[in-house]
Subunit: 308 residues, 3 copies
Amino acid sequence: MSFEHMHIISMKEFTRDMIDHVLEVAEEMEPIARSKSSSDLLKGKVLGVLFFEPSTRTRMSFEAAMMRLGGEVLSLGSVDASSVAKGETLADTIRVVAGYSNAIVLRHPMEGAARLASEFSAVPILNAGDGAGHHPTQTFLDLYTIKRESHLEGLKVALAGDLKYGRTVHSLCYALSLYGAQITLVSPPELSMPSEIIEDLKKKNIKVIEESSIEDAIQDVEVLYMTRIQKERFPDPAEYQKVANRLQITPEVLKNAKKNLRIMHPLPRTNEITPQVDETPHASYFDQSFYGVPIRMALLCLVMGVFE
Amino acid sequence: MSFEHMHIISMKEFTRDMIDHVLEVAEEMEPIARSKSSSDLLKGKVLGVLFFEPSTRTRMSFEAAMMRLGGEVLSLGSVDASSVAKGETLADTIRVVAGYSNAIVLRHPMEGAARLASEFSAVPILNAGDGAGHHPTQTFLDLYTIKRESHLEGLKVALAGDLKYGRTVHSLCYALSLYGAQITLVSPPELSMPSEIIEDLKKKNIKVIEESSIEDAIQDVEVLYMTRIQKERFPDPAEYQKVANRLQITPEVLKNAKKNLRIMHPLPRTNEITPQVDETPHASYFDQSFYGVPIRMALLCLVMGVFE
Amino acid sequence: MSFEHMHIISMKEFTRDMIDHVLEVAEEMEPIARSKSSSDLLKGKVLGVLFFEPSTRTRMSFEAAMMRLGGEVLSLGSVDASSVAKGETLADTIRVVAGYSNAIVLRHPMEGAARLASEFSAVPILNAGDGAGHHPTQTFLDLYTIKRESHLEGLKVALAGDLKYGRTVHSLCYALSLYGAQITLVSPPELSMPSEIIEDLKKKNIKVIEESSIEDAIQDVEVLYMTRIQKERFPDPAEYQKVANRLQITPEVLKNAKKNLRIMHPLPRTNEITPQVDETPHASYFDQSFYGVPIRMALLCLVMGVFE
């Protein structure tokens, strides 16, 4: 299975076989990501890093992935300080940077930016988030975390928080549906999962359950995936506070959780999960953050053709 | 011919033999720049990158050049976040960074900054633009592009756009004069080539032609070098618009061009060249941008003494 | 003596034997720092660089140290562009970055930040300054400079400038007291050395002399350590100017200096030392700046366990 020259734009382009292959390559990469062995697989290769929006985790884990494999990172830097500020089009910037690099990782505030970029790029584009669009490498790392910390096949999972605007959970739902899953949804009514997505899941024989409290939802699940609820979604700060309190994870809330429950969160968190939870065996969100490195190593190696 | 320890401040310090040598070394570097072979020529070497003004292309191609050769890039970062903001002199900053690196690439808004820096630096300074002063590595990459995409000896070239303030075209004229050339100038009267430069060229037996339209100018030329006309040069926006429209390159304008015409532009472009031109065989500006990598590889290797 | 996994938070944790060991390792590193030999000691290792405050010298010399040893540098970038701007706690940021790197160098405006970070980090924290707190790698480089340019045992040293707020000189005093020293203090009354520190030194049998003029102070000393006096410390600009003038080092002031006097300064300087002094054999501040590289190489190798 060759991914060479492939653009990574959206999860929709990946079959289950392809996803499985990426996860397997990531597993081979993990010792290198943990600095337990070293590698020159990407020596002489340059990754162009174009972030038109701030990011810590995604950018840094892509860069760490490249570095751990002996590759180099070439950054556009802040957008203010670049020729983008002189009014250059995205197409031109991409064509120029493609001339300097072996692949480009792109984050852009506009939906469709990564697809557009792929049309002008001589090297693979890795979409690191295009606004309300896609963020496939996040989904890959979520799947990899689930595989490593729990199991993918027939997973019982609860998704909680902002299920309306959170592109992360939409993409994850789609991916989990390829493995069979029982999905429990917990969100305030204003931020509930779009009904098209629920319909889609049901068509694929995915059991979808809606719960109004985390306590009820987690009694039977193996993974609880929390997302951040943005204050800006609520016109009334008091309303936000009420919702935020109701969906907050504390050791108390976890009293009836299964022993093997794993809690995930794309981070950064604010108050969705209290620091006391970090000490429990349920907390998998920092591992999840680390898993961004091996999964991005896998994707980089695959699209640059140094690994089949 | 050794360039070891040489500062690269202005084209005026280069004889034709020296330029030829740099271009030949760049040709040897090109496969590495294209990632067709890898290299450790600059392994263990550090390039200090001091950009006191924004730049995408120049900075990124210097960094890519260093990385492709196994070297490392040490960046001052944004000026706001550095000790320059605490009032340090350029001389002090240079002396400090020279202690950390094997060469320094410097962009600075003030004319003469690179020369000044060279007086305080224990390592070679590569001038990446000093305001209205010089930008020799741009001229080198322009020459390299012409050599690779057309030919240098006795070139018929048209220069169009802002010929008054564009340091790029002044420096290019000087360099082309070393190879014999027929130079056609197209610019609005407000932005015409300074007469001293025209006189200089004529003294060197360079044929200089002034044309008022691009259509007329390109019928006989092999290279058309476009530059950006800055809105700020015109007190009246309507006047700017008129000029910009008249000098815009479209497929229409190119109807009577020679088959082997190559269009160059230092980028970023705004509206000087429409996107439709990108698809024609005349468009060489993205290749030109790429050629910044091998040419900067050559200069870095030469001044760091790893190549003669 | 193993420093593996050790956090470098403050000088107080170092005995004289430990300091001596670090200085010896730095001496072994110096040829690599001078690019006279190359090294792969830190190949495959990643240094996380988290600067929540601007810095040129400290950051760049840490990065150069890593690069000269074949290691890689992973930067958080500017704080505005990171998830810290989304309200992430330092503890969370540290845990995430620890997952991507083999050690973290941290500068933070708040006293105690480095200690806090060390409690959440799976990898060694190197404190690169925590506000009014500590900056141990600066003290190490000061000691290394003194050892290389003068001698440590029983040093006669004058400290001048802001001795009240300058954490650098407090930490240096403590360290020098381990080697025996005669310390002369020169400062305006508003910025004199805190009496607790003077008492401490005297308890350790360190001779402490207070002088009001630099001229008097330097007649007998081997090292003069200047610090920057910040304008902001003085409510009245005229008062600042008077103090600044009185403590300024010029060739004139140095007329009665010992031949082997070495002048140090953590840089950046403003007017404390005039440029004319740079040409005298007394000027050691640019060497001092360079010595930041071998000393940080030593510390990085020691805490990452590639050197004992």
